[in-house]
């Protein structure tokens, strides 16, 4: 009974509440008043001293990095070249798509931390010599689309 009385109240109170699931048609102009805004829960406050890992330079938006003076000295795939060298261990090889999956050490030239990632490999490279578990030295080169491709890859000796 009380629940029934209260239901209209809830509905009345909550015109705001459910835009959820409501497919408002995307308008071209998107007037700012109608855009649902996220609620900022605020900053971190003082950070605990023991662990304060700084964001890697890589975490900073690359496009703006070029323009912003504080990052002007950042090695952007070192000046004049767009290749970089790394070492790592092969996790898997996909001959059909000509790709390899590597766990690589940090690549300071381009500010990358150690990562596991998949790379396309230049068509000229024979992948049959590359087996999962092999430690490798490799060179990657940035492609026009911004992606990195392996241009050279050789066993470095020693397994995992």
């Amino acid at each position: 009974m009380i629940a029934r009385l209260c239901r209209p109240l809830v509905m009345g109170l909550l015109p705001v509440a459910l835009i959820a699931c409501m497919n408002s048609p995307p308008t071209s102009a998107e007037p700012s008043a109608s855009v649902p805004l996220g609620i900022d829960l605020g900053g971190s406050g003082p950070v605990i001293a023991s662990v304060r890992p700084e964001l890697s330079p890589d975490a900073i938006d690359t496009e703006a990095k070029v323009a912003s003076p504080q990052y002007r000295n950042m090695p952007m795939a070192h000046a004049g070249h767009n290749d970089a060298h790394g070492t790592g261990t092969v996790n898997s090889v996909d001959p059909a798509q000509h790709k390899v999956n590597l766990s690589h050490n940090p690549i300071p030239e381009i500010g990358w931390p150690a990562m596991t990632m998949e790379f396309p490999v230049a068509p000229s490279i024979d992948l049959t010599a590359i087996k999962p578990g092999t430690r490798v030295n490799f060179t990657i080169e940035q492609q026009p689309g911004g992606m990195y491709e392996i241009r050279a890859i050789t066993p470095a000796g020693g397994g995992r």
Binding site: I2, R7, P31
Partner: protein, 555 residues
Amino acid sequence: MKPFAPLAITRRRFMQGAAAGALSLIPFPLRSALAAPAPVLSGTDFALEIGTVPLTINGRQAVGTGVNGQIPAPILRWREGDTVTLAVTNRLSEASSIHWHGVRTPSPMDGVPGLSFGGIAPGETFVYRFPVHQSGTYWYHSHSMFQEQTGLYGAIVIAPKAGYAQAFDRDYVVLLSDCSAEPPETIVSNLKFQSDYYNYGQRTLGTFIADAQRAGLADTVADRLEWGKMRMSPTDILDVSGATYTYLINGQPPGANWTAIFRPDERVRLRFINGSSMSIFDVRIDGLPMTVVQADGNDVAPVTVDQFRISVAETYDVIVQPAANRAYTIFAQAEDRTGYARGTLAPRPGMSAAIPPMDPRPMRTMADMGMTGMEHGEMPGMELSPEGKRLEGKVGVDNVAMMPAERLQSAGEGFPSGRRILAYADLRAIKPGSDPRAPTHEITLHLTGNMERFIWGFDGKKFSEAGPIELKRGDRVRFVLINDTMMEHPIHLHGLWSELENGHGEYRPYKHTINVKPGERLSYLVTADAPGRWAFHCHLLYHMETGMFREVHVA
């Protein structure tokens, strides 16, 4: 105006509360019983009211399930070290419940009807009360019927007592979900009727010709025959797709453009939560690398990626530092590429950036079938392991992975190469685990299913056919999961942490939900330090409801 019903704690409810422990007997302040429609609730005392919410989804009227009239439910902000009291009133005409996902509560406060308590009957109030011993990003949702699908989910943000490990200037919850105008009962009955009902990416004669031109006719025929023999479709990535779902960020469809404001160079923490019922998302922000600092509420060594896959019920906290005075699109594609959730990071409201094209649709490979390295010709002669033979032929099992592989280095299928994608192997806890003991025994479970019948289970058994997994209090055990199915399964163990064995020694990440890829074998350690009856299940709602659920009993 009369406020809401004075807490309708009935005698029966009181008795259950008494059984659950004296904590829930503590009277709840009546003034808090007026459920306020605030999108963020902070403090130690909360009044939450579960009720229906009318919705319009793609022009169709539907009835959702919300908390305090809201979908998603309000963000709850707690502090580590506090004791929180939550009076939950059920205004629905059916029983309800709330489970605090990833939060380590005493078993009677865990909110699973039938295991932790009796559920919350219509018109009744159940008072949850428990101390908060952890910090991080979590969420809460109904554990009754399909109420989670229809909107009963919300974020929990617990501030760390000692302070954050990373500095940030702003902090936003990004809660992803899926939403449909079709009632969940209709969706599940469609799946039972035809498991690929929502799969409109099926391979056809046209794609057969295209594949034959690319791969050669013989290989294409062999490939199709092999999939045909196994009665599966390689395009079956998610059971329920954008054919019925609209994907949401904080309750907003892509067109609404949910926006988070930043000033250039600020560090922005984004707390991604996948509160979907059935949808796994691949998240990226075009032009903005993301530094993952937390997974499932626990800090990890920061790792910078371009994209991550977030399975159902997982959480990832990332920090981004957009330097340009422009808008960035937060783009969360459904794994099967049938739709996406979209929001915007922008210096001002009303801005938007281009919405990138969707990535190629992932295809299941033979590795997903647990057949890594096998040639087509080897099929007939393959020998199954004894436990595989035990499972084969059960009605609930239509496939057994013959060579399950460790695949933690891989983020899964469907990513273009050259992007840095988060893999489970990248997650390294920032502090060593709290229990250095080696496990004394192993529990191996196969994740099994019969796709055609839409039956799911562990070891070929539905929940109704299996007894509980018994653990002794204080036990240290290793769970080994082998996924024999073609679908991913986010496996959630209530009440106890799952410490993923991903190659980082004692720096194993602590998780509450572990996504097991098709054909994958993985393991995690569990300390049975909390007594009670705990749910253990696949967090894909319709998999759980059709059998992939067990009880873990710690005595």
